[in-house]
Point group: D2
Chain length 273, copies 4
Amino acid sequence: MRILFVGDVMGRSGRAAIAAELPNLRSRWSLDLVVVNGENAAAGVGITETICNDILAAGADAVTLGNHAFDQREALVFIARQPRLVRPLNYPPGTPGRGAALVDLHDGRRALVLNVMGRVFMDALDDPFAGLEREIEACPLGLACDAVVVDVHAEATSEKNAIGHVLDGRASLVVGTHTHIPTADHRVLPGGTAYMSDAGMTGDYDSVIGVDKEEPIRRFVQRTPGSRYEPAGGPATLCGIAVETDDRTGLAVKVAPVRIGGRLSPALPDFWT
Amino acid sequence: MRILFVGDVMGRSGRAAIAAELPNLRSRWSLDLVVVNGENAAAGVGITETICNDILAAGADAVTLGNHAFDQREALVFIARQPRLVRPLNYPPGTPGRGAALVDLHDGRRALVLNVMGRVFMDALDDPFAGLEREIEACPLGLACDAVVVDVHAEATSEKNAIGHVLDGRASLVVGTHTHIPTADHRVLPGGTAYMSDAGMTGDYDSVIGVDKEEPIRRFVQRTPGSRYEPAGGPATLCGIAVETDDRTGLAVKVAPVRIGGRLSPALPDFWT
Amino acid sequence: MRILFVGDVMGRSGRAAIAAELPNLRSRWSLDLVVVNGENAAAGVGITETICNDILAAGADAVTLGNHAFDQREALVFIARQPRLVRPLNYPPGTPGRGAALVDLHDGRRALVLNVMGRVFMDALDDPFAGLEREIEACPLGLACDAVVVDVHAEATSEKNAIGHVLDGRASLVVGTHTHIPTADHRVLPGGTAYMSDAGMTGDYDSVIGVDKEEPIRRFVQRTPGSRYEPAGGPATLCGIAVETDDRTGLAVKVAPVRIGGRLSPALPDFWT
Amino acid sequence: MRILFVGDVMGRSGRAAIAAELPNLRSRWSLDLVVVNGENAAAGVGITETICNDILAAGADAVTLGNHAFDQREALVFIARQPRLVRPLNYPPGTPGRGAALVDLHDGRRALVLNVMGRVFMDALDDPFAGLEREIEACPLGLACDAVVVDVHAEATSEKNAIGHVLDGRASLVVGTHTHIPTADHRVLPGGTAYMSDAGMTGDYDSVIGVDKEEPIRRFVQRTPGSRYEPAGGPATLCGIAVETDDRTGLAVKVAPVRIGGRLSPALPDFWT
Ligand SMILES: [Fe+2]
Ligand SMILES: [Fe+2]
Ligand SMILES: [Fe+2]
Ligand SMILES: [Fe+2]
Ligand SMILES: [Fe+2]
Ligand SMILES: [Fe+2]
Ligand SMILES: [Fe+2]
Ligand SMILES: [Fe+2]
């Protein structure tokens, strides 16, 4: 199976990159499963129903979220009717939406998409380790589904590393989001799970993690409140990770970073043409 | 000028990679300046005089530190007699050692090496932005020195991004350390400063950021104290960044990630042979 | 019912105050229920079986804990055989010990003692609000027990305030611990629950929250590691809260701070003689 | 000298208590110096020029601030023309306003009022210990002024304890603010400085630290964003500390908590009538 995961789409610039690139990638690479993190898609914070639909229409099978999941308050409502929008599974019971989506692919195969939030340097949510165990035991890779993709929305590399190892052999891909900077530690772990600490954002990197740089720099230096943060408006780099899995096991056999456009050095998988 | 920066050397595994690779790299690439972060070189926390001397002997011109700078208490003493060991400049006045080193290179040129700590999600130190301004104004690139290398030891990508932009055009290289995971956002910023949010560690990546994975995973899951953290003992990946500067300006013209050995996908500069 | 809660016993000085005062208070005030927080009783961090037994022998019906619960590693073992030692209930399932103890009082009545940890500015544990709901629904005040005492081991006053309001009318006493400084907001909440944001420690207040002040002050100023923290050795103030409940409802009718000995201004309930 | 310090005035409820009580207290107790923390005076966050003037007109000689200092953006401007409004001294150089005010009292004596912010569990500012040293060395108690009052706006009791000890003998009063809950550790330290870890807020205590309790409780439980925080509207408790100093030394001889009105148990100094 061919899987593409795309990191935090940041504002208008990020959405433009999705619209311009994702349909082509989907068809050119014959992708089976595309997951996009959309927690910053609407003006840099949260997601609206229109934007969620646009990302799905551009070629995503599922959209994941993070700490900004509900910053656009309408997401608390429309998430109920959008089964392909996945919020962190470790929100407390009763939170609108779902933390796991079992997605039917074009050919009848099924992929489990999970989103979870870390707790180191982040708000307190339920235990991500226990929550992931529950979801994966309920729908084991190779038995109940053909792929498991886990978006670990977290700050600390230690927590992401730990989750990767814990799930190794039981997920097709464990990929981090939230720091908005792609890491270069993509690899297949010993047990067969593709791993990358952060997919990076899909946004303008001439910025402070996607935000127009002037105000955050001013705040770092002056330490006083000021104007609102605005997404940087320059061309985005679409950032993510490409994974090829073994159809018999659902585990990863090949992995490569994806970086298209914008300011970062380009990267494409050499195993798809 | 040819510059190599190597990220956090982690314990015995990291030291072995330095000993095995650095002398060769130094001569093969005709490096002019080599800086190595050594905050985890001694058993994963801190640095001893013997280990510092070993890293310098292997080909480093300067060794930088971070939040673990003084975990080996002897560093509070020997740092006074080791002018090539640089601790974060934003420790309070009176802290042993120095946050800036002006290093004489083999050919008489001089490089300013700075080490600074971020404050987001980290212990409170003095203002890194103000401290960097002071040091760089005191020894401007192109006027008082031929290269400026800044090791930003910090957790948050936002703070690292901001420091990169603030110093753009005034440093040869701004590179992050501390997360122990290399980022893939290496580039030359618009003003001519090479930038990478994190160099990554030089250690065994089959681990939790360099620590033998069993105990940190147990703590994440069980939340109770247990045994000591031990550095993972498998083969290390030497991680860092290669920068070629313009000799007239001291600014960067080429930049590439470096990853040699161990578990990560290899990366070498294609502009040096 | 007459209830005394005593805050974090800090090292030898705190234990001496317990030994000297608690037996007298128990008999003089004809106390029905005494709960003591013992998370710092052993050398300032954790508790041993001997020390736990000493506190129980001095007149406590139950001993509660906090973030230092297992700093003396033997507590991971002996807590299994000590039903009156209560650790935070929001440790993950499988943690040794219990977060709730149903204590049989001398006259056959029963008291539910709960210990929970906050998550603001503290390590990530399970949801304290959900955990408290579960325990209190399982053993409701006035139906299944005659008193409910909740030790909220937390840093942030906001979280403690919120827990107090949520449990108002369902607990006899909600009292905070962990900051080691007594608050002056003791009162009966509108629904009948006695509340105080922090009981204060039972330790030497000529200190930095019970620690010999020299080293913590040095670290605040110099920001470098140094010698171990040692409990301050001067005379302790026994700090806590006295509550009189209505025997029919188990809710509070009178509340007063208790401060005996040491450096703080003395306080005793005027409703017991 | 007779000094009254009043803690964080919270919204309309807190302002009403100031207007109703402070003029009477000032005359009844023949107060020489009144300092009021006003960081939450305007709708719970920040302060406006009108509100600052009202607090001064009600009997304050100086108004101190904290992390909410500039939440009402106009404070960045009018603080320049209001010498009795004091913001934390450890904002970076160039921040509008001042961190120290030398206030002329009615009888010609002079009081130094300092405001500083802690760094534990708070935003990164400059070193509070170094900043306080500078200010106090520039205007020593007994030599250049007749009283020194320090408002330590901080979360952690450890940091407040440490600052108290460091300034003991060099300040008339070191009092904490920010947690919005009064502590009961008021005392004269061995060197003669009056100390209290937190003055408490002047606001409605039937709340979550002054905020109408419904929304903060909902957020603690549900972890999703919701409506704005609004100050609780019930009757406020005016909270603070009363200090009598020795006119020859400026050091404290008597200290007592002050709690008037609202939900908390009342407290008044017994040494003034
Ligand atoms: Fe994001
Ligand atoms: Fe995020
Ligand atoms: Fe490190
Ligand atoms: Fe570090
Ligand atoms: Fe404690
Ligand atoms: Fe504690
Ligand atoms: Fe406040
Ligand atoms: Fe505050």
